[in-house]
Homo-oligomer: 235 residues x 2
């Protein structure tokens, strides 16, 4: 079947998250996760974002560009269910969808129009670096916010499952990164909900995990419900 | 420029709203506005909606199929601003967007899988009849609901601007439509926020307006902040 509708790329997200592993599983879970949405020509005129700064939050509709379209299955295994229970693809926020379109509400910190560029400073993101953006919409609280909605298998935010501690080496490395403010808080937020695949057994405590953030691999391991940050390995 | 991504139609919305005029300007404003989302092959298998009934609300991402793609302008005139102030297209929910993709949260009343058909009974809709659906996602309250978000030019739902009254003839017609329960409540909700174009002056009180709903034209006029429903004219 040929596609019914064609979408343009109106912008690109620049994000600390350079690979899928370790990305927060919903927006807003990691407030320190900050990025830039850069509008592309011909959408990058100041007029197109006029009035947007009056909104504290925006919707980003984006394309899961690292997902092969057509690779969807009717049922998926959400990490939230331990990876061993399946639900319908339309009852999940999985990227493996008939149309791999993502939907995230993020905090809008600043709208910048300078030197021909139009960029939005955003945070609370759960979006991969380089993600193509299809649309930006203001978050309209009276319509979009339904605090008492019944939310199936994910009624609340994931628990803070792990205590996060740092090696002395990692602490020194973080302090030397004046270019990345709030890096320590970002790492704590990322690891506290335990980003490991759900099927990992606690017995494999020797294993060192890595997440590609910015220009380094964050390396850590888990022992006794503690995530120990070992080092930031420059790539 | 050629489109970067192609989208499939996964379903179709069957709605009381047969034309753009009169459609609620956001979802949820008219709880009585009920419709059916019908999944299309090959997406219409019961597995794809397994677990969805555990959610009270869903996101529908859809294509504004009556909008010509490419007809967008950097700034739009939202009806909420009286139609005479302009804001950036990305600061509005206007259908005239670079990618005419709509986003509505609606109430999910029932998931029906029978006779090879998979349909969702939905309400609070602001979607035109025949609208192609690109994606369905569960509403996840902990991530999607931000009650205290600052919402620019539309911080609250539109006022109930008009009192709605019915002619004796219209009352009798409504009572004869046992096939359309809650029709009276639907009409009250639709007219109370005054769907007339913002630039209409109160002086034109003689004018009779019509909205194509279901199989009839709802005909009414406005006088002294009252919407008087005249008749339901079968088409």
């Amino acid at each position: 079947m040929s596609p019914a509708f064609g979408c343009m790329t109106v912008g690109i997200v620049h994000s600390p998250f350079k690979e899928k592993f370790g990305i927060p599983r919903q927006p807003g879970l990691v407030p320190q996760a900050a990025g830039i949405l850069e509008l592309l020509p011909p959408y990058n005129c100041p007029e197109s974002v006029s009035g947007l700064a009056d909104y504290s939050h925006i919707w980003i509709q984006f394309w899961f560009h690292q997902v092969e379209q057509g690779a969807w299955q009717p049922r998926v295994r959400p990490p939230r269910l331990g990876g061993n229970r399946r639900v319908g693809v339309f009852a999940s926020r999985s990227p493996f969808r008939p149309n791999p379109i993502g939907l995230s509400v993020v905090k809008l910190n600043e709208v910048r129009c300078e030197g021909g560029a139009v960029t939005l400073a955003i945070s609370g993101i759960d979006i991969l670096d380089g993600t193509p953006v299809l649309d930006i919409k203001p978050y309209v609280s009276y319509a979009d916010s339904i605090p008492d909605a019944r939310s199936g298998f994910a009624p609340t935010a994931p628990d803070e499952a792990l205590r996060v501690v740092f090696s002395a080496h990692a602490e020194r490395q973080i302090q030397s990164r004046g270019d990345l403010p709030k890096l320590r808080e970002l790492i704590v937020s990322l690891l506290t909900t335990d980003p490991r695949p759900a099927y990992v057994e606690d017995g494999r405590k020797e294993r060192v995990y890595g997440i590609h953030l910015y220009d380094f691999d964050l390396r850590w391991r888990v022992e006794n419900r503690e995530a120990l940050v070992l080092e930031l390995l420059l790539r």
